[in-house]
Amino acid sequence: MTTLLVKEKDIVVPGQQLATGLDYVPGMGTYREGEYIFAARVGFLQIEGRMLKLIPLAGRYLPKRNDLIIARVIDVSMSYWRLDINSAYSAMLNIKDATSDYVPKGADLTQMLTFGEYIVTKIINVTPQFLIDLTMKDPGLRKLPEGRMLSVSSVKVPRIIGKKGSMVSMIKNATNCQIVVGQNGWIWLYGNDPVKELIACKAIAKIDAEAHTSGLTERIKTFLEKETGAPVEIPREIESMEYEG
């Protein structure tokens, strides 16, 4: 006997029973225990055919393959760097994934990247035990220069990027800032003008605070116009996927 115990788009909490019976399959953010499927995170329930999925509303970043993230170097070893990726797990960047140049044996890796430096990087693999491998070899992946680091909840990153990067491009255009948004919730920001840089920070904080509400793009547009005193255009959805979004 299969029953769905909650409705689609319900907000569920960890440990809540979602369904009984074997007809439904647990998807992202849910798990099966015997007859039942339980929620593992706080989120909206989504049903796709027989699959029960959760769109998380809160929680720490969970690394996924092909995610573009910002990482901080926490350890340098003989052949790899260990990086903090704002998750429960740390990631590894091997020499062979960091550069195509020849690196002699026993070279001092701190010359390339050293403690506390930030990089834009891509996850190439995540094992079930959460061993995470990173790469620097794709275009746009690089060491980040001096700038400001912001931290937001990783579940709100999609709102900051917007549809096909529209939100982040709007902020970039309005404030003349360089912005890189990592899927892990870390954001790098640099502007020549500190006043405009601050406006960009405030805009991002506003999105972070109001991520769950609708009509956000309009409100951010009004906010940017008020703060910068210049008209702001909502960019058309950009077809080419840039690394920032």
Partner: protein, 257 residues
């Protein structure tokens, strides 16, 4: 990060848009936040929040000051306030913080310790001030010192019959406060002096000087921290800023009564 902060400072601004000698907007002092303490206060400075509580007990005085009360200050850096803090025995930072707060109160003679003597050489009142940061977004020094003094101002004696202290029955007698010492921490980054640093600014600061002063503008304690040295001119400049900014913080507390 450091160069970025410096380049913004060169343009006369801070990370959050403040001027160099400006405190964060929301400085708030709330009294009596902990019901079971004899006195308590909560200080909010921007996103930094600190709670201080005062407990009173009857104890034996130290043998070198048989007719004076005792002050003890303890600060615990709770892991909930900052992911960099760890549980366990107090860290170097926690010990420094509590000692700086302690010194401000002790050396300004904020409390008339002689009035806190019950029987010379045998029984005196001991005041222990416990400080807990609820959220650390920078400048725990000034927030802790302000919270401690505010908590002292809020404190009343519990009733005491000569044998036992009854914490359930409070008197209306306040602590013999003579002074309200105010601490202002001035950070040096490059050639810039700033007050009320954010966590990010605190991390890249070369040096800091905590300046505690009394209402008349008398210095009562100084504490230098950070890895870089400071020159005599630097110290003069930092003390001047410290004395000046103390005035606005003092307004939040009002008088000693």
């Amino acid at each position: 990060m450091r160069n970025h902060i410096l380049s913004i400072l060169d343009k006369g601004m801070r990370l959050d848009g403040r001027k160099k000698d400006e405190y964060r907007d929301v400085i708030k002092v709330e009294y009596g936040v902990a019901g079971l303490a004899e006195g308590s206060a909560k200080v909010t400075m921007g996103k930094t929040e600190v709670v201080a509580g005062v407990k009173m007990e009857v104890m034996e005085p130290f043998s070198d000051t048989p007719n004076e009360g005792v002050i003890m200050v303890g600060e615990e850096l709770l892991p909930l306030s900052n992911p960099e803090f760890e549980a366990g025995p107090p860290s170097v930072e926690a010990i420094e913080l509590s000692r700086v707060v302690d010194r401000g109160i002790r050396e300004s003679h904020a409390l008339d310790l002689k009035q806190m003597c019950i029987t010379p050489g045998e029984k005196v009142w001991g005041v222990s001030i416990d400080i807990c940061p609820i959220n650390d977004a920078g400048n725990l020094f000034d927030a802790s010192a302000l919270a401690a003094v505010a908590a002292l101002k809020n404190t009343v004696f519990p009733s005491y019959d000569g044998k036992k202290v009854d914490y359930k029955k409070m008197t209306t007698k306040k602590l013999p406060l003579k002074e309200l010492p105010i601490s202002v921490t001035v950070c040096k980054i490059g050639k810039h002096f700033i007050v009320d640093p954010l966590s990010e600014e605190q991390k890249v600061a070369d040096a800091r000087l905590t300046v505690a002063s009394t209402e008349k503008g008398m210095l009562c304690a100084l504490q230098k921290g950070g890895i870089e040295p400071v020159t005599l001119e630097d110290i003069k400049c930092m003390v001047d800023i410290g004395l000046e900014k103390a005035k606005s913080l003092r307004k939040l507390l009002g008088g000693t009564k």
